[in-house]
């Protein structure tokens, strides 16, 4: 601890020294470092107070001195005591702000919105990847379905048109309004129609199965959306904690606030299963059915 007289000088030196660094930290949004510098500076300003836990003890001590001085009629000393108490209060305030800033910072980190981390995809980034996967799957399914329907419609239309023509011709034949030459034409036209009908209905049936299969996205997207909804709920509860923390700012003027750092652990519930693999590039995830078959055959299947 420095002497009371040397104190302002030391503070001034340190302030000059640290101010550019503080500014730089603030510009770079490096709150943690900025707070550390602020604490250091505040410490240099009021070195007689060492830590937060001493605040109450200090106040009590000074209040006793103040009381004694007033009783003894030493008003000048009493005023000095009051100033000292104010200093104690200020220091507590700064410490509390520092603590809240750190808590805020860690809460934000826990939100995992720091997209600068390249090696570890944050939960929110993963959630947007998952939602992108949903939109990709649904889009693909919709396009596939539409393509197949568009392929099928002309076939159905052609079958229908030809059926109508043939029905009229057939009617004419039944009513014996047809010449022998016309009948021969109808004969071969019918033959052609039956062949086309057999081929086209096979194509249509195949298309129907493909359309049916294109609906399988709903199973996968349902699971993914369920997971993202869970994350949204988690984020919501983190937000509630942040709001709670913000409400504590009011309490700090009384230096009675206690730390309530948002400690969130994001351990996934293994019993619920992992859901569809979004990133099949991971080592522990198989990429496709061939990988599954290889793995199973390696196990003797």
């Amino acid at each position: 601890m420095t002497e009371q007289t040397a104190e302002p000088k030391r503070f001034a030196t340190l302030l000059k020294q640290r101010a550019p660094e503080l500014l730089e930290c603030a510009n770079k949004n490096n709150l943690e470092a900025a707070v550390q510098i602020l604490i250091e500076l505040q410490h240099a300003r009021t070195p007689q107070l060492s830590s937060e836990s001493d605040v109450m003890e200090n106040l009590r001590e000074k209040a006793q001195l103040l009381h004694d001085n007033i009783c003894n009629g030493q008003f000048e000393s009493a005023l000095v005591n009051l100033q000292e108490m104010q200093n104690v209060r200020d220091k507590g305030l700064y410490q509390e702000i520092g603590r809240l800033t750190r808590a805020l910072h860690s809460a934000i980190t826990n939100f995992a919105i720091d997209s600068q981390l390249e090696d570890e995809a944050s939960e929110l980034t993963e959630a947007s990847d998952r939602l992108a996967y949903v939109s990709e799957l649904t889009e693909r399914a919709a396009n596939r379905t539409l393509d197949l329907v568009e392929d099928s419609l002309p076939l159905v239309k052609a079958i229908q048109l030809e059926a109508n023509v043939l029905k009229r011709e057939w009617q004419r034949m039944v009513q014996r309004e047809m010449t022998a030459a016309e009948f021969r034409t109808l004969y071969w036209r019918l033959d052609e129609y039956f062949q086309k009908l057999a081929a086209d209905s096979a194509v249509l049936s195949g298309n129907m199965t493909q359309i049916l299969l294109a609906q399988d996205f709903q199973d996968l997207t349902g699971q993914v959306i369920h997971k993202v909804t869970g994350l949204v709920k988690e984020v919501e509860s983190s937000l509630v904690e942040l709001v709670f923390m913000a409400s504590q700012v009011e309490a700090i003027t009384g230096i009675i606030a206690h730390g309530n750092d948002a400690q969130r652990d994001a351990t996934p519930d293994e019993t619920l299963g992992h859901g569809p693999a979004i990133n099949t590039g991971q080592a522990d995830v198989v990429a496709n059915q061939d990988d599954v078959d290889d793995l199973l055959s390696s196990l003797g299947f």
């Binding site: 199965t209 399988d216 996968l220 699971q223 859901g275 099949t280 522990d284 198989v286 599954v292 793995l295």
Partner: protein, 123 residues
């Protein structure tokens, strides 16, 4: 051939049922999770079970283990059709006695091939 299709998504059950019909299996029944499937298996005379893994209530894995532990049902072939694609899970399913494993999203031919293979092996 009486087949039980277990999946919590109705669309998925429809897809599997339609594929089975395409293969000539028309006697198919549905359950939306393992808990619903279990009494059906005990009361019915099913020859084959196709199940999803990730379902509320009882999962496909639990259902598989339950089937293998049951004196009457333990020889029923079980095919897992699931989005679960972790290696550990596939190994766990194999160890639990699954007869086939199809990962979603799957193709019609993949499912047909697995089903054919199982019937070929079971006879």
């Amino acid at each position: 051939m009486k087949i039980l299709v277990v999946d919590d998504f109705a669309t998925m059950r429809r897809i599997v049922k339609n594929l089975l019909r395409d293969l000539g299996f028309t006697n198919t029944h549905e359950a939306d999770d393992g808990a619903t499937a279990w009494p059906m298996l005990q009361n019915g005379t099913f020859d084959f079970v196709i199940t999803d893994w990730n379902m509320p209530g009882m999962t496909g894995m639990e259902l598989l283990k339950k089937i293998r532990a049951d004196e009457k049902l333990k020889t029923i072939p079980v095919l897992l059709v699931t989005a679960e694609a972790k290696r550990d899970q596939i190994i766990a399913a194999a160890q639990a006695g699954v007869n086939g494993y199809v990962v979603k999203p799957f193709t019609a031919s993949a499912l047909k091939e697995k089903i054919a293979k199982i019937f070929e092996r079971v006879g």
